[in-house]
Amino acid sequence: MAENEEKAKAQNRCPDNSAFKQQRLPAWSPSLTAETVLPFFYLLGIACVLLGVLLQITMQNTQEIKVDYTNAESCDMCFETRKYKVNASRECHCSITFSLKERLEGDVFFYYGLVNFHQNLRRYMDSRDDAQLLGRIKKLKNPSVYCGPNFQYANGTPIAPCGAIANSMFNDSFALFFHPLVDRPLRVPLFRKGIAWYTDKNIKFHNPYVPNESLPQVFQATAKPLYWQKPVYELDPNDSTNNGFINEDLIVWMREAAFPNFKKLYGILDRQSSKMFEQGLPAGNYSVSISYNFPVQYFRGRKQVVLSTVSWFGGQNHFLPIAYLVTGCVTVLVAVVLTVVYIKFGKKGLKMED
């Protein structure tokens, strides 16, 4: 009896014979042998090269026209005007011209570009109130202190939309004209909506809603940002559904660019409304008339107009195809070198001497 008990006790202290406890879990132990590494390198290299070629070909089918209008042509005057703060409320219009040698095929996108504008400064990026932009009434009247000094005026009137981002919103407006050789200039129809992400437009940004009140009434107790010329509910004079926080120009602007040189979508070519633009933008002369409001000389910035078509992997992008080609070539080269090294030196290296 006692012996049995002792035996049972002995069994108790003996560790379990499980694969886990004995560190004998079945396992796969791969190693870098020539049979696996070399083919992998060749395949990877060739894949990269092919991808690079494919990207390069695709990219060559896309076009991009970039026109700097900061002080070009008649905008020079506006540039000078905007140099001084006293002229801030004076309107200034100018236009620039450019010509397309080839037709821009398919969907054409109209961007404005800014150079040297830091949307990625930490304090700048923090200076917004997403809850306010979501249309929370409470936040509309009482914006977050994260907006920094731009959350209310000295007299306590809250700013809507608050913050430095909204305050510095790009407010030049453009009209693109096509100049046919014979006819008089034709305004190119642009979609000014549908330029923001679906999620931004429909979920992230909402107008504050109070039953039986119109938009201006809702915004009544608030003030427009300091640098703005019109209140937020009058941003788009042509389309009343595009006003308030859901104004797409505002939404686009509020998505801060990662780098100081960036372009933002302004409009998309409306190919349906006119037969002439059904295939895209035809070759010929164009002009852009600009309502020149946004001062850039303070920070030595530049302003651009960009017209571009896109491919399946996005807009025109020289970096990616070249990077793929280079990586692919280097990989193939390395694979060749490794093969040579393996055949010449390394073949017997792993054999045990003993």
Binding site: S31, H118, R122, T199, A258, V310, Q316, N317
Partner: protein, 1002 residues
């Protein structure tokens, strides 16, 4: 425990203050106006057991930490591993690096504010406070310290502890370190030292109870020219004796010792047939000794032998039917093959170190006077009658054979004495023993005179049983470049004998230096001679150089250590060691010792053990491990980097002081070569990866700083920063740290050379750290600049923008998670299901959390906390983004692959080779191939069975230690429980005898 019968009368003891000298005690007892001197002879050390007495008076003089044994224990120091120390240094460096980055970025910010930001401020409308560029830089510095703090691996410490804990559990769970017979599993008692088990260079081992079982077994004998003890099968081949071999049935003998096992049946048959030589042989064993019998109940004999050798011999005789049953000062009663016979004990010619033999003269029941003698063969063979020459040669051959197997041998002889010769001799003996001058010499002469012309009976062979697998373990550890030093309290002879039997000392060795000098000068001389002999006459040993030169010398020595082809051994005893450990000689001792393959220190005190360990620890940058089983090993266990306790019969002190404990010495091999090596490997891989990961993760912010006006804008989402280290990347690396194996356990044991990579510390050192951080920096660079190049002017395929900061953040974060996952995949050598689960699980979790945090629901609930609404959807559905991620991953991983492939291809390490072989043989059934059993082939005539002291013979004949009359206490080595340990001064009316073995320096 001592239980005083009545309160002792008042007295006073004046003695020395507590000290650590085990062999000295000075004090006086004043009692009833008499003064009694108290010396070492009257002192019982803590942990001693009294024998052969029912009672005694005692007085406790020291208790607890004052006891001599505790004074020998040394201090407990907090042990940390070298990797941990390195880790702390590196974390400090990283902190410095963080400050540097902060300063660089702060300066950048000041410049930027001055040149650009000042003009840009119109868009920001900041308070006037921030107009100052310098102040802005100052604020930026702190912002960056906060943002970049993830480069300092704070969670590293937690993860390291978790991994160590896991490794400790693996040690506890290892069935191959479980000792079934005593139901004892290995135990990792600390969780902080595991990886250092993979870096051990020196092992300091106790002997008794660690290498040996402290059990003597009567193994073989040679009687009248015939050997007994080997078992042969039907074809006449020798059969290896194992636990399972059938043993002889002794049931004919009611007084047998049931634990005794013997495998050769022919000897019992010879006894039963009444072969006179065999009978006489066993009669010698039963009569010629100083063992005390104790028979509490009828037939339950217990022998109190002062040395286990004697006990083994008498027990052997007992089982073969010559039971030693009782003794009085004048008689010895045997129970010979079922018959009682009483021998009159006429004289005991006691043992001493010079005589190396002992004899008894008895009158047998038939009235004949006989002298029975046993002793070292060399001594005894000179005193044989010439007629037995043939037998002597045969026996001599047998002795060689026994010695070759590492057995301790004794030769046995007898002589018939004439009545008148003996009577005359007896008279002279009496005269001599009462003489006042030259008594000992005269006695020795008389002994010599009568021990002549003896007839040889045979020889015995006793096995000082090594623990199982000791020789194999030592051979294997030696192959792993671990140097093993034996530190024992035993005598030189015994220690050397064990050295031979566990293959540490070999016949092929060029020289075995024995240092036994009694003065510092002698020791120095002997050590120098030894060193000169090893290094050859060309090298001068200079003493007292400056440190730099010393370092040179040391370096040269290391070279020499490798170039010396012949093997040497150094044996040094406690006296000499005391001198050699003095400041001016310790360097010489260390140098000499390190040139030798084997070092044995005998007769050392516990404190000396610790001093030797400390010497190596201080002067060699090596990890030391001490292994022992008794209280006398505690100090060395505490001193060494790693202390291992053998949980044997010797109580718990060693185990309690140790860092690891198990039941058998042979498990050390597995602890070091398998668990230690794996722990080291895993820890190093883990650390490398951890540093790499943190650098790759954090430095992206640094690069971004140059584009965002050094404004301390983070690249990633706040939530990603929070979760990256904890959720997205911690588990795969933890799984690697817990389960990774480069080669399996069989191969770890089969190729002990693999262990060297831990000793050389090649897997994680400052260089490796720099490589990891460089790798991390490179990764962060690629992670930032490839998306930068691809993104800065890119748009989505529907024309809307994607170059916004949030999309950029998601792209980089996704690339980062994928790259570090691929990297951990490359680092993992051993993909268990757990690894798969964690790696794929982490990636899945990343995407789940990403989409959850960017979902509509969570945004509408907490709009200010989850501003990344929709970014994942809008970004990760873009082919362009995935092209970027693919490119980033390729560019990050490719160089690693190239470097690793080239390294294994051009400079394959031992590990690579073994791995390769292991994989090649994967398809064949993995079979466990044990190391070949190391067979000792020594012709050294081994020594000598007596490990006891002289003086017992006199005690017996004088009758003073006869049990009932007089209590005798003996000091047994470190047995007993620590709780009751006290140092006791004990006295009794008789004279005390003690066995002094291990705890005693002389």
């Amino acid at each position: 425990m001592l239980f005083p019968v009545s309160p002792p009368p008042p007295g006073e003891v004046v003695c020395e203050p507590p000290n650590n000298k085990l062999d000295r005690f000075v004090g006086t007892l004043t009692w009833k106006n008499n003064k009694y001197p108290l010396d070492n002879e009257k002192l019982l050390l803590r942990g001693c057991v009294m024998r052969n007495t029912e009672w005694c008076f005692g007085l406790v003089v020291f208790t607890g930490p004052q006891t001599k044994l505790m004074q020998n224990c040394g201090r407990t120091a907090f042990k940390r591993t070298s990797i941990e120390r390195l880790m702390n240094t590196l974390v400090l460096w990283i902190f410095g690096f963080l400050l540097c980055m902060g300063v660089i970025l702060a300066i950048g910010n000041s410049i930027w504010e001055e040149k650009v930001g000042g003009k840009f401020r119109v868009y920001l409308l900041w308070d006037e406070v921030l107009n100052d560029a310098i102040f802005s830089g100052f604020l930026t510095f702190w912002s960056y310290i906060i943002i970049l703090n993830t480069v300092v691996p704070i969670s590293l410490y937690v993860s390291v502890e978790v991994i160590r804990l896991g490794h400790s559990y693996f040690i506890n769970w290892d069935r191959r370190m479980y000792y079934r017979r005593r139901d004892m599993a290995a135990e990792a008692r600390t969780t902080t030292l595991n990886e250092e088990l993979g870096q051990v260079e020196y092992i300091f081992s106790d002997k008794t109870g660690t290498l040996t079982q402290n059990i003597m077994v009567f193994n073989k004998c040679s009687i009248n020219g015939r050997t007994y003890g080997d078992v042969y099968d039907e074809f006449g081949h020798k059969v290896e004796i194992t636990e399972k071999s059938p043993s002889v049935d002794f049931s004919f003998n009611p007084l047998r010792d049931k634990k005794f096992r013997f495998h050769d049946h022919s000897l019992v048959e010879a006894v039963k047939l009444g072969d006179p030589a065999v009978e006489e042989f066993f009669r010698v064993l039963a009569l010629c000794h100083t063992v005390m019998p104790e028979e509490k109940n009828e037939g339950e004999l217990v022998y109190q032998a002062q040395s286990p050798d004697e006990g083994a011999l008498v027990t052997a005789a007992r089982n073969f039917g010559f039971v030693f049953r009782a003794r009085t000062p004048e008689t010895i009663t045997l129970y010979e093959m079922g018959k009682h016979s009483t021998y009159q004990l006429l004289a005991i010619l006691d043992f001493n170190n010079i005589r190396k033999r002992m004899s008894v003269i008895v009158r047998n029941p038939k009235g004949q006077i006989k002298l029975y003698s046993k002793g070292a063969d060399t001594i005894l063979f000179d005193r044989l009658a010439p007629s037995t020459e043939d037998l002597m040669y045969t026996t001599s051959e047998h002795l060689n054979e026994f010695a070759g197997e590492g057995l301790r041998t004794l030769a046995l002889a007898y002589k018939d004495l004439e009545e008148d010769v003996f009577a005359e001799w007896m008279v002279r003996l009496h005269e001599a023993s009462t003489a006042l001058e030259n008594r000992e010499e005269r006695l020795a002469l008389l002994y010599e005179e009568i021990e002549q012309d003896m007839t040889l009976l045979g020889a015995t062979a006793i096995e000082d049983k090594l623990q199982e697998g000791v020789a194999e373990t030592i051979a294997c550890l030696t192959l792993a470049s671990i140097k093993i030093w034996v530190l024992t309290g035993d005598k030189l002879e015994t220690a050397m004998n064990i050295g031979y039997s566990c293959n540490m000392l070999r016949d092929e060795m060029s020289d075995v230096f024995v240092i036994t000098g009694h003065t510092a000068l002698e020791v120095q001389q002997q050590l120098r001679t030894a060193k000169e002999k090893i290094l050859g006459p060309t090298r001068e040993i200079v003493n007292g150089e400056k440190d730099a030169e010393k370092m040179d010398l040391y370096r040269n020595d290391s070279v020499f250590e490798e170039t010396i082809t012949s093997e040497y051994a150094l044996i040094i005893n406690g006296h000499s060691l005391a001198h050699a450990l003095e400041a001016d000689l310790e360097r010489l001792l260390l140098d000499t010792a390190c040139l030798c393959k084997t070092v044995i220190c005998c007769r050392v005190t516990p404190l000396q053990k610790a001093q030797v360990v400390d010497l190596v620890k201080r002067h060699k940058r090596a990890v030391t491990l001490a292994i022992g089983d008794g209280a006398n090993d505690v100090s060395m266990i505490k001193t060494a980097h790693i202390g291992v306790g053998i949980s044997g019969q010797e109580g718990m002190q060693a185990v309690l002081a140790s860092d690891y404990s198990f039941a058998q010495f042979r498990y050390l091999q597995r602890l070091l070569l398998v668990h230690g090596r794996w722990s080291y490997l895993r820890m190093c891989r883990f650390l490398c990866y951890f540093f790499y990961k943190n650098f790759a993760f954090t430095l992206v912010h640094f690069w971004f700083g140059f584009f965002c006006g050094f404004s301390a804008q983070t690249v990633y989402d706040q939530w990603f920063i929070t979760l990256f280290n904890i959720v997205y990347t911690s588990l795969p690396v933890l799984a690697m740290g817990l389960f990774d194996q480069d080669v399996n356990e069989q191969n770890s044991l089969r190729h002990p050379k693999l262990y060297e990579l831990g000793q050389l510390n090649v897997l994680f050192n400052k260089r490796q750290f720099f490589m990891c951080t460089l790798h991390g920096i490179y990764t962060s660079f690629v992670l930032f600049f490839i998306p930068y190049g691809a993104f800065s002017s890119n748009v989505r395929d529907d024309g809307s923008h994607i170059a916004d900061q949030q999309s950029f953040a998601v792209t980089i974060a996704t690339s980062l998670v994928i790259v570090v996952s691929v990297q951990i995949g490359l680092d993992t050598n051993y993909w268990t299901a757990v690894n798969h689960f964690y790696v794929w699980g982490s990636l899945t979790i990343y995407f789940c959390i990403l989409f959850a945090m960017h979902s509509n629901g969570i945004f509408t609930i907490f709009p200010s906390h989850f501003p990344f609404l929709g970014t994942a959807r809008n970004t990760l559905t873009q082919t362009g983004v995935w092209l970027v991620i693919l490119l980033t991953t390729t560019v990050c991983v490719m160089p690693v692959l190239v470097v690793r492939f080239l390294r294994t291809d051009l400079y394959p390490t031992m590990t690579d080779k073994v791995r390769h072989t292991q994989q090649a043989s994967r398809r064949q059934r993995p079979q466990e191939q044990n190391l070949k059993r190391v067979r000792r082939t020594s012709s050294r005539r081994s020594a000598y069975a007596f490990s006891h002291q002289e003086g017992y013979g006199e005690l017996i004949t004088s009758g003073r230690n006869m049990k009932v009359a007089v209590p005798v206490f003996s000091l047994l080595r470190k047995r007993g429980d620590p709780a009751t340990g006290t140092t006791v001064v004990a006295w009794s009316s008789g004279s005390g005898t003690r066995e002094s073995e291990n705890t005693q320096g002389q």
